[in-house]
């Protein structure tokens, strides 16, 4: 039987909101008095319910085992509890309940370059950062040449890091981290920095560390490709709970399917509230026909929202959030972005149509979450929580150009204006 490296039992992390911690003694006292007496709390924002202040479980009764040498990707939406889990395992913050046993020493990279001091030289910072991460001086002495070589800083190593470009800074920071000798490595989105070239190298190094040296790795990233390359196992989190612990492939599939499933709504009346009933939410083409087929990049698509407004509020707005299949939010779009005074919603039936322009999205699957809110006051339907979703599949039609027959790298695939002049 493989040995267990990390075992978590019923781990929970509770965050209190506002209540105790508005940051000023005065408001803390007022808030405390109103809770005790049941009076209206003057420190609350408009639209805030007393219940909102109580808090939430960022991690909710989580138990798992990780074996030595496992490479585990932790995935989930924003706010699912991924980072909190890493923080608790790296002992940056204590859990509210439960316990975690760890075998071996842990190096956690929740950030690269922690503790770098701008006034100190690259070399001095290698020592400082290394020591913060738990390396002994002798260890760093042994590895310093390797670290400098990996960072490609060479002749600038004795210059204060405040003179470094951001790329040099990140390279140096990652070089230190990559040379940590630990049984367990915890990394949170550290690869999300630096240029593409560097990211590739960093990912390669991480792969090296984990697969060749048999280290246990816990890795959080939003980039599914990186997770897939690096990890064998996965943990899928949602709202602080473990949804699935399995092969990384299965976890990613489930995650992406989840993204879609939650949108395949059958009952729109679930989203009705005091301001409106959502009567229809669909994708239509230029002619207004509902779409159920993949669409070319050269075709415009329209998001159609039909609302029965029961109550009109000046701050009301509605729109959608568009995600790609990696779970990356591309943008939010609202009716009120393109503002005209006579274009507000009115009492009764309103049909809003938002265009997703042609020659804009790359090939692939996109998820379009419905959104409605009283702007800056409160969410009516939050696209990041419980919201109906539409799936859009873009295939082909990327460009008329013979140089562009298939999917391009990048999130978008816009066809942009170019001009050319000929000098005679």
């Amino acid at each position: 039987m493989e040995e267990i490296a990390i075992k978590a039992e019923n781990v929970g992390k509770y965050y209190r909101l506002g209540q105790i911690n508005t940051g000023m003694l005065y408001t803390d006292v007022i808030s405390w008095i109103s809770r005790k007496t049941g009076w209206e709390d003057k420190t609350m924002k408009i639209g805030e319910n007393p219940g909102d202040r109580t808090g939430f479980w960022a991690l909710d009764d989580i138990s798992f085992e990780i074996h030595q040498g496992d490479r585990v990707g932790i995935i989930g939406k924003n706010g699912a509890g991924k980072s909190t889990l890493l923080k608790v395992i790296s002992r940056v913050t204590a859990p509210t309940k439960g316990r975690i046993g760890i075998k071996g020493n842990v190096a956690s990279l929740l950030e690269v370059g922690t503790g770098f001091h701008p006034e100190m030289t690259g070399r001095e910072n290698i020592y400082l950062n290394g020591a913060i991460l738990g390396m002994k001086r002798a260890e760093i002495n042994e590895k310093i040449d390797e670290i400098i070589a990996f960072s490609e800083i060479d002749e600038h190593i004795d210059t204060p890091v405040k003179r470094y470009s951001s790329g040099m800074y990140v390279r140096l920071a990652f070089a230190v981290a990559a040379h940590l000798d630990s049984d367990i490595l915890i990394a949170d989105e550290v690869l999300a920095v630096g240029d593409a070239e560097f990211q590739k190298r960093a990912l390669g190094k991480m792969n090296d560390l984990s697969s060749k040296q048999g280290r246990t790795v816990l890795f959080v990233s939003h980039r599914m490709n990186a997770v897939k390359t690096l990890c064998k196992n996965g943990i899928l989190l949602d709202h602080g709970k473990i949804v699935l612990q399995d092969d990384i492939e299965k976890c990613i599939n489930r995650y992406q399917q989840n993204l879609y499933d939650r949108k395949s709504f059958d009952n729109l009346s679930h989203y009705d509230n005091e301001f409106f009933d959502l009567l229809d939410y669909s994708l239509v083409d230029k002619e207004g026909h509902e779409l159920s087929r993949p669409v070319g990049n050269d075709e415009s698509v329209f998001v159609r929202i039909e609302l029965n407004m029961k109550k009109v509020h000046h701050a009301f707005t509605s729109g959608y959030a568009l995600y790609n299949s990696d779970g990356i939010l591309l943008y939010w779009s609202y009716l009120t972005d393109d503002y005209h005074e006579d274009r507000n919603v009115k009492q009764g039936i309103n049909i809003l149509t938002g265009e997703i322009p042609n020659h804009f999205l790359n090939e692939g699957e996109y998820y379009i979450y419905f959104s409605a809110s009283l702007h800056y006051i409160q969410w009516l339907v939050n696209p990041e929580e419980d919201s109906p979703c539409l799936k859009l599949n873009i295939q082909g039609g990327l460009s008329d150009s013979p140089f562009w027959p298939s999917k391009r790298p990048g999130v978008c695939a816009p066809v942009l204006k170019w001009t050319i002049e000929y000098n005679k």
């Binding site: 000023m24 002992r91 439960g98 316990r99 956690s108 950030e111 922690t114 006034e119 913060i132 001086r137």
Partner: protein, 283 residues
């Protein structure tokens, strides 16, 4: 297998007794303590004209000011000690105490970025703060010693005595009192930041309520008891006793002040220990 059957290297629990101090782990991180000290000293005076000479510049000019203001304008006595020595000793010990106290009180706030991202034994930071302040103090103390020896050979031969052997203990006493108080305050400043600012202001006022610029013998009447109840008074009077043979100090004052120091230190360490695990969520 049950959780407890494993031979874990680390167990993370929601509640840990505030009395657990992992001293072994702290010694493993001594390189880090050394590097923190080096960082703090090396970076304070980068890109300055005088560099580390600032360490001497401050007490020298403060002494000159004190001589003019308190000796010549206000005509306060110095128990017959040469004013230069009297004020110099007062100012370096006071600034050692107060800047150590302020630095400890800001430990969490100043290090929130590191603490929020990496785990290492948090006590390494207050320990490195002590060493940093100590080095600064010792540089100033060296200058004091030179002046002291010059006076010793020029009309004050009785300065030299076995009492001087107590100096290291008085320095340790100062360190522990400032650290204990500072750590107590540090756990509150994570939540209310203005307390750290208030502390600096309060300390600059407090200097006049402690016999720094005058000896305790100059204080008479009903205020005297307040001075004696102030645990910092005993430290300063002890320094005068040890260095100059003057100073009003009784065994009771020493015992009382040392007692206060121990209470501050224990309370400070317990609060620090309790706070280090959750402050990341608060700050």
């Amino acid at each position: 297998m049950n959780f407890d059957d494993y031979n874990w290297d680390t167990v993370i629990k929601s509640k840990q007794s505030p009395f657990t101090f992992d001293l072994k782990q702290i010694t493993e991180y001594r390189d880090l303590i050394f590097l923190f000290v080096k960082r703090d000293i090396a970076t304070t005076y980068k890109q300055t004209i005088l560099g580390p000479l600032w360490y001497l510049f401050q007490p020298v000019f403060t002494t000159v000011m004190f001589i003019i203001v308190f000796r010549h304008v206000a005509s306060l006595g110095t128990d017959g000690i040469p004013p230069v020595l009297f004020y110099f000793a007062g100012t370096i010990f006071w600034s050692f105490f107060s800047s150590l106290l302020v630095s400890q009180a800001r430990v969490f706030y100043n290090n929130k970025d590191i603490f929020g991202k990496v785990y290492f034994p948090r006590l390494t930071v207050p320990i490195s703060v002590i060493f940093g302040e100590l080095i600064k103090f010792l540089i100033q103390f060296a200058l004091f010693s030179i002046i002291y020896i010059v006076y010793m050979f020029n009309g004050y031969p009785d300065f030299f005595s076995v009492r001087l052997l107590f100096l290291p203990f008085i320095i340790l006493w100062t360190v522990l009192m400032a650290t204990g108080l500072g750590l107590m305050i540090s756990s509150v400043t994570t939540k209310y930041r203005d307390l750290a600012k208030a502390l600096e202001f309060f300390l600059s006022m407090f200097m006049y309520a402690v016999p720094v610029v005058y000896p305790l013998s100059e204080v008479s009447g009903r205020f005297r008891i307040i001075f004696i109840l102030n645990p910092v008074t005993a430290v300063l009077e002890c320094i005068r006793k040890v260095c100059f043979g003057t100073g009003e100090i009784s065994l009771y004052m020493i015992l009382y002040s040392v007692g206060c120091t121990l209470v501050f230190l224990i309370a400070g360490l317990l609060l620090f220990n309790k706070n280090e695990k959750v402050f990341v969520d608060v700050i």
